[in-house]
Structures are given as C-alpha cells and as structure tokens.
Symmetry: C2
Subunit: 271 residues, 2 copies
C-alpha cells in the first residue's frame, strides 16, 4: 500500500473519542499514514488503533516525535494538559469549535485547526465527504496543506478564523444540541402519555427540510407565534410537573413571539 | 366527475388558513364533495375556493345547512365564535391539537376531531399521505366515518382522545416550533457573524436523522452534556448582547445536563 503524499512522514492522533474515531477512519480511508493513536485510556486507544491498523499508547512520552502532523481531538479541557507534555517539531492542530488557534502560540512553529462540523456518535456511520470542515493555520504554507488534507476527506472545506469558528460552534449548539434537547423533551412527554414517538417523524422531517429550504425565521408556526394564550396556558398547566420543561416552554415561547415582532414578519404559518 | 362516496351530501370547510388550505386540497384530490368554503375574510375564502372549484362566503348564515360534515379549521380562539353561530344537523369537527372534543357537547349530535399532525405553510407542497392524522368522535359510527375519510388522505391514521391529543400537540410544539426557533437563533448568530447558513445543513440533517433512528435522550452531544464550563462561559459571553438567547442558552444547557443525569445515561457523544 502506498500512503497519501500529504504529511507522508505520518500523522499522530491524540484522542480516541467520537471526533478522533470518525476523523481517523476518514484519514485511513484516504490512505493517510497514521503512525499512532494516543489516549490516556489504553483500551480506547487500542480499539481505535485496531480499526485503522496502527500503533497505540497511553503514554504521551511514547508518541513518535518525527510525525508531520499531530491532531489533538480530545475534550476541550484536556487540550491544555496534552500540549504541556507534547514537545514536537511537526505541525499541531486541534479539532475544537470554541478554542482559539492561539492556544498553541509560542509552543509550536506550525499550528492550526481542523474543525469538522458535525455531531459524531461512534455507533453511527457518516458520509464524511458531506461534512463541512473548517480549517485555520498560523501560516499560509500550513493552511494550504491542511486545506488539501481536508479536501481529501470532504467536498466542503472552508478557511475560517478562530473568532468566526466560535460563532459557528455557538450556532451549531443551538441547531444541534438544543434541537436534540427539544426532541428529548418531546420524547419524555410522549413516553409519559404512552404515545409512540414515530407519530412525530413526518413533523421532524418537514421542520428540518423547511429550515434548509428557507429562512427559519420566516416559517415559524404554532401557538407561541400566534401568542395563543389559550393553548399556551394549557400547555404550561400540563408541564407543572416538569419545572425544567415548563421554564423552557415559557422562555422559548416568549422568545419566538419577540423575535417575530422584531423581524416584523407576517405570520405566514399555523401549526 | 363522481364524488367520493363518503359524506356524499357534502363537506363545508370553515377557515382558509394553512391547515384549511392543505386539508381542502387533499380532500378535493380524493374527490370529496366540498360544498363551500367559509372565511370571515372574503378574499381568503375566495382564494381557497378557487383552488378547489367550489363556492365561498364570509357570511356564516350563508353556509349550506344540509352538508354531512363541517370542518372547522381556524385559530383556536375563533372556534368558539364560529360554533356560536353554526346551527346545523350534520357532523361538526375541528382540527385543533389542544382543544377538547367536548367543546361541541350539547351543540351537535355528532361531533369530533380531525387533527393532522404537521407544520403547514401555504407556500409548501406536502405529501399528505405521509401526515399522521389523529381522529376522535363522540360515537362509534362517526369515528368509523372519520377514520375512513382520513384513510382516503393518509396512510397514517390514529384514533386518539382529547387528553392524549393535547400531550401530542405539546410534544409537537417542542419538536417543531421550538426546534425551528433554535434554527432561527442559529441563523441570527450566523447572520451577525457573516457566516453562510448552509454550513449547518449537514448538521441539521444528521441531528434529525439521529433522533428518528434512536432515542434522542441517548444521543445528545456537546458542551452542555459534558458540562464543559470553559466553552459554556465563552458562549454566554458572546450572547451578552442577546439577553433573550442568553437566557435560553443557560436554561437549555442546564436542562440538558440535568436530563442526562436523571436518565443516568453514558455520555456517548461529543460535538
């Protein structure tokens, strides 16, 4: 097997969680030369390393020091701990949405970010080619190299600086984590009422499609938009047993109404 | 043209909004005999009536009194006003999620509900066959008739009582309106930062698919789940200029963490 020409002295993966796993699998598939997987949990390192036929370690001192690229894909708070011990001459990048590239300043000559914008679960297969990858580097040469690497994995590569990446991450938290929490609350309510979740599937699909096809601020529907206090008060009554959800219901309903007023859009939808 | 055998003396549609429009189009397509469209706004009544080649009026006294079925598809608060003036012997139903069937008690002999569970906008075409329709009636004969009518429109027909329908509607508000609001906030943030919304499309798709494929309570990812205060505090800082969104960010983040603790699930995802 001949390796991909890029970063041909090899790549080291630091981390073995969801992002590290999906990114490593995509790099392996694109024939990048992955020298080693590091994780502080040896079992996790082993599991990932076996998937991509490479070495693994839980000792940061054992990481090869001659690699061209070190990709740190761990929880944000663990990045600092890793770079305290990682003394290398190759380029170093992280994969975090809300950590500035400058965390590496003064520590390495070449550094940057490879941020794949997706929600990763180990158990789900993803078409990596469709995932937007946002890259950033402290010099043009590395930027070009990272761009080229990212283009080997995805059709959707973007150069985005740290400040914008943080805003993008924040937007993604709303569009993914918070959306998923709304699904979770719906599930809790349906479970309690013994109603099958599958009744909501066409609604979930259409809501996502509508947001993708047109500005979601213009297509809102439902009692909050209409300020239908009759319905809103009934719902709040039902939620009395779930104070957390009641609070969210009130604040989000209020915010829907206010955003609509602010945008002074016509109510063009009913639920 | 020969009409559908069901409710063959005809159906009257009261309302000309999104639900009335989509439902009327589906009934028309299934060859139901629609006698007339009523709306208090004559133009709206006319627009809908022309789409389905029928009569229209804005005078409730002019509604044919010999129809088999009257479908009231108006805003919840307008239902009471309509039934105060609607004196007929045919069956009367409404299409609202959170209004009990008993609103009709004592007023009509046969009454019920046809609740299509979807987010309707006039400008979007929908495959009505995929939309779950929940029906309810005050007697078995009408229930059978409504079930049969609904089956002419959709593959997904369910008999659901008023109490459960309200819970279903509440769940739908979270899974649709509140989800859409999260998309709207994401759009506001991206617009402010001059980042194209299309970067979020793969994430929106995957988040919806994941929820449909597995319990969303088990697949949550992101900083709130990990209680990553480093990221959370940065995001709250950015949101200082948007107090509404900041409040939602805090409450939803808090609720994600608590729901996860409650369900005592493993953190099986990272953002």
């Amino acid at each position: 097997m001949s390796f991909n020409n890029q970063f041909k002295n090899g790549i080291v993966i630091l981390g073995a969680g969801n992002v590290a796993t999906h990114l490593s699998l995509a790099l392996h598939k694109a024939n990048f030369n992955i020298l080693s997987v590091y994780s502080k949990t040896l079992d996790s390192a082993k599991t990932l390393a076996e998937k991509i036929n490479t070495n693994y370690t839980n000792d940061i001192e054992q990481i090869p020091d001659n690699a061209d690229l070190y990709i740190i894909a761990v929880k944000d708070e663990a990045i600092v701990e890793i770079i305290r011990h990682l003394s290398v001459s190759g380029a170093v990048v992280h994969t975090a949405g809300s950590i500035s590239m400058n965390i590496f300043e003064g520590l390495y000559k070449d550094y940057g970010v490879i941020y794949p914008l997706q929600t990763f679960s180990k158990s789900r297969n993803l078409e990596f080619a469709e995932i937007p990858i946002c890259i950033e580097a402290n010099n043009k040469e590395l930027e070009n190299k990272l761009f080229s690497l990212a283009e080997s994995l995805s059709r959707n590569v973007n150069v985005i600086n740290s400040e914008k990446r943080e805003m993008l991450h924040l937007a993604a938290v709303f569009a993914c984590n918070f959306v998923n929490h709304m699904y979770s609350i719906a599930t809790e309510i349906l479970t309690e009422a013994d109603i099958p979740f599958k009744l909501l599937i066409p609604l979930i699909n259409e809501t996502a499609l509508k947001a993708i096809d047109s500005d979601p601020r213009r297509t809102q529907t439902g009692p909050a938009l209409r300020n239908d206090q009759n319905v809103i008060q009934k719902h709040i009554e039902v939620l009395k047993e779930y104070p957390e959800f009641e609070k969210i219901y009130k604040f989000v309903s209020d915010s829907i109404y206010k955003l609509n007023q602010k945008n002074n859009k016509e109510n063009n939808g009913e639920f």
